[in-house]
Symmetry: C2
């Protein structure tokens, strides 16, 4: 079926961010309680002292997950975690989720129970309540939508738009692992399709496969920053790849950045696996996505507190807008940072 | 693809309510701020004085809507309204929504703009802000998920479980119209498929077609009750059909009911169209669904205030649990009320 419009603009011409930008350009918020609408990791709603933080995410079979290698329990777990990650990315604490699923008759009750078991496990681990949802049928695949609701003191909430010239750019954990885990899973699926007798060869790849199948939200980093008495000036989670997220922070904060390639944290297994696939490990970190690490900026005065952190890397610094968004490569050459994310790497 | 479970229970054996009941049986809420989890029109979250009310709904192409006769703008409008209806059904005021959509490349940008235009129109009419969402691709149809967030004073919120013996059972507007509108649209679609030269014959059916394509949430009824100084003892919106909703109120309130068939408000056009289709108009009201009227119980002392209301019908009274849920038919015979809703009437 098609729609008879005199004009027809293909969605592929815009890409995800272009579409969002286009659709949201006319949105005006009018409620006094709406502190922040579209454009950050989550919306912020005022309730007096405490503010409510709300984020939603939709996962579609065949687009975001492939059930031929993703166990349903892991899928349930991950679908919750990716939403909680958005709440932490506001420096808030997730408290509740509502879950909608559309399922075809292909799925048995036992399969859906597995999915829910994974969701409940994530709820338990992150101390979050499942408070509602909707369950409906679908003609073909599985669609999951989760809305996470968090709370924070008004002063604690960190937006994407507060980065200032001279700030340090920091990221938690390591990057590119989830993307390389996906490459391994896709390769083994292709081998299996060719010859179903060959068992998948995942040996030694546990870490990156877990990064893909069972990611964690960095609740601990929010706590570490609180313990160190550091309030980030801007904060975002790395769901679409480092470069895309850096550009979000810079655009919204109206600043430039200098990112040092040699400082980007990449796990040795991610590095070696990228090489095995003839991929540039840095590119995997920049564009791979799904790492769910936290990217943030802090005042330079916090340098001493962070410089020896095992779990936080200082990867660059904020410059002024006119200088642009740059990456200083290992060899010393300077490149403009470009967002690839969704468009370039969708479906591997 | 199938899942190798030793056990396999078909979802169709359970139905929607059975599935929800099964999946939610192990949910335990632990957050102090979770006042109400699953089991009502919306979840309730405490923020001190004001409480946050959250509801979510998923609409799936081919299951909930058919784009061969539903204009995208109407679809957008309706998808917002059905969510707001759940918030009003808590006696709360909707304030914000977050919207997720999954779309295939079959849709052009202009088509999605139409969908959003309808959503924005509903936001404007009901004074609600669109504060976030997710946009993703889908392999085939269109999937829309909306989460609505409302606010209310703690004392104002009305649950499903407060109906008391002797209460009056009331409903707003009229019932069965949305279902009969759907029958007309389905009939004209079938005629068109047979012979595309025949124009759809919708003459004189405006009211019931609008009930189906562009329903409204009963914000005005919430205001009327407030103006009359009536706090309902229980409240629910009629999305699945009157009998199903009455049974929800009775089960959760642990009471019985006596419903009078002759008191069920049915518009003459709904009545005549049902007859035209050889359907029992009462059955259409009881099981048709999608009316988005408000069903509620009030203390008997409010009888005088309500008896002459143009927009609220007193359709029965609450009895004790042992008496069961009964309908007194026009002829005087007494029948047990049964929920049909989703299972019986899905897809007409």
């Amino acid at each position: 079926m098609d729609f008879d419009n005199t004009e027809r603009t293909e969605l592929s011409e815009l890409g995800e961010f272009g579409l969002i930008k286009h659709l949201t350009q006319y949105i005006v918020t009018e409620q006094e309680s709406t502190i922040k609408g579209v454009g950050d990791d989550a919306a912020v709603i005022d309730n007096g002292n405490l503010q409510t933080v709300v984020s939603t995410d939709m996962l579609v079979e065949g687009v975001h997950f492939d059930l031929s290698y993703v166990p349903l329990k892991h899928l349930g777990y991950k679908s919750v975690v990716v939403n909680l990650s958005d709440i932490y990315a506001m420096n808030a604490t997730p408290k509740q989720i509502v879950v909608s699923i559309a399922i075809s008759s292909r799925f048995s009750l036992e399969a859906i129970e597995e999915l829910y078991a994974g969701m409940m496990l994530a709820c338990k681990k992150y101390n979050v309540d499942m408070v509602g949802g909707d369950t409906t049928s679908n003609l073909s695949g599985l669609v999951i939508n989760i809305t996470a609701i968090g709370a924070a003191e008004k002063e604690a909430i960190v937006y994407r738009n507060g980065a200032k010239e001279g700030n340090l750019l920091c990221v938690s954990g390591d990057l590119g692992g989830a993307y390389m885990g996906l490459q391994i899973l896709e390769r083994e699926k292709a081998v299996f399709k060719e010859n179903p007798k060959i068992q998948p060869d995942l040996e030694g790849k546990d870490y990156i496969i877990e990064r893909q199948l069972k990611p964690e939200a960095r609740k601990d980093i929010i706590q570490i920053l609180k313990d160190l008495d550091i309030q980030p000036t801007s904060l975002i989670d790395v769901s679409d790849g480092l470069s895309s997220e850096i550009l979000h922070l810079c655009t919204q904060s109206k600043v430039g950045v200098e990112l040092y390639e040699e400082k980007i944290p990449i796990d040795p297994l991610t590095f070696d696996t990228a090489r095995e696939f003839n991929l540039d490990p840095t590119l995997c970190a920049l564009s791979g996505g799904e790492d769910y690490e936290l990217l943030f900026t802090v005042d330079l005065s916090h340098y001493e507190k962070l410089k020896n952190s095992m779990d936080i890397s200082i990867i660059g610094h904020i410059t002024n807008e006119a200088k642009g968004c740059l990456m200083v490569a290992k060899a010393g050459s300077v490149h403009e940072l470009k967002a690839q994310g969704w468009n370039a790497l969708m479906k591997g």
